[in-house]
Structures are given as C-alpha cells and as structure tokens.
Symmetry: C2
Amino acid sequence: MSERKIALLSDRFKTLWYEYGTVKILNRKTYPFSTEYVTCRTVEEVAVAIEKMIIQGAPPIAYAAGLALAMEAHLNHNKPQTEMCTILQSAASRLRRTRPTGWDLSFTIDCCLEIAAQALKTGENVEEAIRVYVYEVIEDGNQVARATGRHAADIVPDGARIQTMCFAGAALNYMLYYAVEDGKDIRVYASETRPYLQGARLTAQSAIEMDIPVTVVTDNMPGFLMYRHITNMLVTAADKITSDGYVANKIGTYQCALAAQDNDIPFYVLGYKGPAPNAKTVDTIVIEERDPEEVLYCLGVRTAAQGAQGFYPAFDITPPRLITAIVTDRGIFPPNLIWRYSEMKPEK
Amino acid sequence: MSERKIALLSDRFKTLWYEYGTVKILNRKTYPFSTEYVTCRTVEEVAVAIEKMIIQGAPPIAYAAGLALAMEAHLNHNKPQTEMCTILQSAASRLRRTRPTGWDLSFTIDCCLEIAAQALKTGENVEEAIRVYVYEVIEDGNQVARATGRHAADIVPDGARIQTMCFAGAALNYMLYYAVEDGKDIRVYASETRPYLQGARLTAQSAIEMDIPVTVVTDNMPGFLMYRHITNMLVTAADKITSDGYVANKIGTYQCALAAQDNDIPFYVLGYKGPAPNAKTVDTIVIEERDPEEVLYCLGVRTAAQGAQGFYPAFDITPPRLITAIVTDRGIFPPNLIWRYSEMKPEK
C-alpha cells in the first residue's frame, strides 16, 4: 500500500478485537458522528450488539460472534469439559438467533464449536484456540476483501459514477482505493439506506476518508439517477449468495437492480467468498424481519404519523437475470456460473 | 357523503383560504405532528411557502399562487390600471419561479392574469374577480379529485394492498374512502418519501383519519414488497402528464413502476385533469432540483457524513410502458391514449 489512506472500515482489526476477555466493537450505529468503541463482557452483550447493529455486515458480525465464543470459554475456563461443551453450544445458539440472513455468522459459529471440541479433546486452552481461529478468519476476510476489491477495481471504468446501496464493506473500500490508484476519475453516489443510514454514514464516510468525492441521495432516487445516466454503474455487497445465482442483500438492492437493467447499466455484486456453503437455491434464503417500529423513526426522531404501523424486512432478493457479474476474491463470475467459485483455487 | 369521515387533506378549502387580504395555509411540513396555519401577507410570503413546501401538491400550490395574486390586487387597489398590470405581472413571475415541474401552477397564474386584465377593463374589483375565480378553480379541483377517486375506487380489488409513493392528494383519499364504502378490505403501504416524508406523514395520516389501516415503509422497500406480493397494486399521483403518456411525479415513482411491472402488479396513476395543456411530449418536462443540502438531513437532524454532497431532483419520469392506466375525472385511460382526455366531456 502506498501513502494513500484507506478508510477505517477497511481493516476489520481496527473495528473489532479481543482484549483481556472482552470483545471491543466500533459502534457503527453512531459512526462517523462519533467514534466510540463498545466493550462487551458477555455473550448476551455481543448478541445484543449484533441485533442492534452496533456491528453490521455479514462478515463482521460473524467475527464478533466468534470472539464472543472465545470470551465465553474464558469466563468458564474452570468448568468441566462436558459442561463447557453445553455452555458453548448454548452461547452459539443465542448468537445464531441474532440475524438469520447472512451465512457467515452460522458458518463461523459452527467452525468455532468444532475448534472448541478439538481443543477440549487435546487439553488445549479453548479460549485461545477459538481466538486464534477467529483472528485467522478475520485476517483471511481482510485478504478476501482486498482481493475482491482489486478485481472489482479492474472493471471500474474511468469516469465511473458509482451507485451504491447500504455499505458494501471493505471490498468496496478497496475497489474505490485501487480505482483511484489506477488513475481513474470516480465519484460515489451513496443511497442513504433507511432506516439505519449505512449509505449516508458508512459508505459516505469511507469515501470521504479516502478523498473520493461522494454524493448522498435518498433511497427513492437511484432509479432516476440511472434513468438519466447520472450514475453509470451499480455496486452492492451480498449478505448471501446462492449457487443458482440469487443474491440476498440490504433491502433496496432489487429495485436498484431493476433500474440498472432498464437503463443498460451494469450491476456488479461484491461477492467476497462467493456462494454460501450448502445454499444451492434461492429457497434457502431467510429474510430477516426487524422491529417494525424502527422504520417509523430516523435517528430517534419520529417520522411517521401516530397510528401508522411499520414493516421492516431487512433484505431483499435479486435474481441472476438482473446481475451483470459477481466479483469475488477468486475472480469475476456471471451470476449463473457462481457455483463454479468452489472449483477455483484461492489466489495467493 | 355518509357519516364516514373523510381526511382533512381531501377538501382543499380546509387547508387553504383567503381571509381579509391574507392567504391562510395549513403547514404541510409539520402536519400531522402539529396542525398549524400559516398566514401569508405578501406575494413573497406565499412564494416562499410554496418553495419551502409549507404547501405541496401540484393543484394546491396553484391555488395558493392564485390567491396570492388576489392579495396583491388588494394591497395595490389604489394604483392606476397600468401600474396594477405591471405589479400583477411581476408577482406572477415571482410565483411561477417557485416550482417548475407541475403544470397547474403556471396555468392557473396565466388564467388569473387574464381575469385581472378583464376586470381592469370593465372596472370590476380585481381582488374579488381573482378570488372568485380561484375559489371556482378550487371547487372544480375538489370535484375533479372526487370524480378521479370514484373512478379509481372501482378498480381497487377487494383485498387490495396499495403501495403508494409520496401523497397522491385528495383523489387518493377519495379512492380509499369509496373503496371502503364499497365494502372492500384494503390496506395502504405508504413509502415514507424522503426527504420530506409526505408518505409517512400526509398519506399515513389521511388513511388514519379515515380508519384505514396503513403501514409505513422506507423508500428502499416497495420493490421487495411487490416481489413478495405483499402489495398488489401501485398508486401514485402525477405532477405532470404529457400527451404521449409520460408521467412526472415525486422521485421514486419510476423505480416503483419498474418493480410493479417486473411482478405483474398494476400501476395506476391518479391523473386528475389529465395531460398538461400544450405538453405534447416528454421533452416538455422540467425536473426541479431542490437545495442539495435537504437530502443530508431528516426533520432537522443531520443524517449524512460531514463532507458528503447532496443531490435532490424532486421528481422523476415514468414512461407509458410501465403504466397500466391513468385515472382521471373523465374516466380511465391507457397511458398511450391519454391524449384523448380532451375529447371527453366532463362528467356532471
């Protein structure tokens, strides 16, 4: 990396780490208006931090859950082996319930339980075994994000006006970073992403930290921006990709994808590690419904008439026919061929 | 009308009137959180009220501008005839500049100037001539809204789950009113419509006042609601319809229309008095751009990262291929045949 700055949210170790039997988490709900770190001392506190979106994004919440299991092992290090097993399984089950749509979460939790079982068998320190494993996963995740961003930067044209929805995570930051490194003139148009404003806060802030010009628009605007070709490229992340090429991502992605197709604008999904293991078809996607009240407020201020109900599906599903390509750490795939991801060797 | 209540925003005389040389306007920016009336004593005050969206909707802003001209005639009733003409033309020009997209505004202003010229010629009271004319226009507007709503109610199916964008005005209220009168089970899904929240406030409140269940969602959600057929009908108003069947309406309409088409859901435009006079093609549509800062805030609270720019096109354009039908006071038209509106006789 050169002298050019990369945004804070690009390196997951700067936003999440394990410290003396606690899990430290950058509060993404208030960032960038304040930069505060939450200290979680119990599994329940991490679970609530995930539920309340103190931490967000499919990979980061998986890392936090993994570190919560290390913490649970630490808190119970004197317990007999069978009891420890039960405790960890109970913690795992609490953490799995926090957010149902992304696949990284339950996958990482499963792996941590296996690591723990192995450590218990060999008499290793369970806390340390899980922590080391999760740190490896985070390090791998950082590499995956960087590789994905590098591949994506290659297909960002000079003059790109990039429409985003939500915050597409570290891979987006690396994509923007490398595109500018490559001498391309780019601008981000971030859809604000109500009700949590990940676009207006996290995407916009990441661009600003990297000196990349960014325009924030409301979530009813991306369609018109593409209609007028004010934006000429749509980029989002994916909370879950299925082997048949469907993408679950932050709600709003589908209607942006429709507008992209209607105006011959390419839609690239930053797909990180590709399809979820064992998720062969779109039917495996579970759409999380969050507290309906949340859509009736913005940053704590009531926005809707009293007496109105709310409804808050957190994700939507985009079919492969609306996706130009899925960009992963192992290269770029047409959505219908994303099942080939597992055949590709990781790049070194 | 039976005992069933009709919402406040259905009768324009309850939200706007002329009183002792002033124009009284319900503040739609704060309604329904407070019900306050603004008193405008100069043309400039009315112009600013229109610009700041104290009053909104293509017909209501036209009525307010008309009454502002009556007020200007009142304030200058001692002036000689030629000076009065110049004063009114200058006022008209200020009022015309407030909002460029809707057609009612400039049309009503033109008519008021003609009425004034006629009154000056015959020695009538100019203030009273304009006021009487504008009140007739408002009364006609009320009838148009009611007739449009009646026609629309006929095609609302039992079990309708009606997706809206922005506030489709009095015709929407009458549509909902009559649908319920006809014994239909309906629910409104109002897209909140950032940054001004016309959907979360005005549409939701109107439904609530009529005891019609309403769910508010954020502007990134309508696509998914249609994808899942949680909503099965899309209804919006139109700020301007051109004779070739294009519709300019609140930004967000176009991407909702795409989702409706992609999921075989009908999209009905409440078209009130049909195409704008002399607007033959889509090229006559001017999309208003409002202060970019407005999209970076919600109800006065900063929502976007410092350093981000804003962009605020207030309307978008939906092509006829995405519109099922345009509902007017004179009946229901396929969008490509909306030019036939002028051939139809007004219904009595």
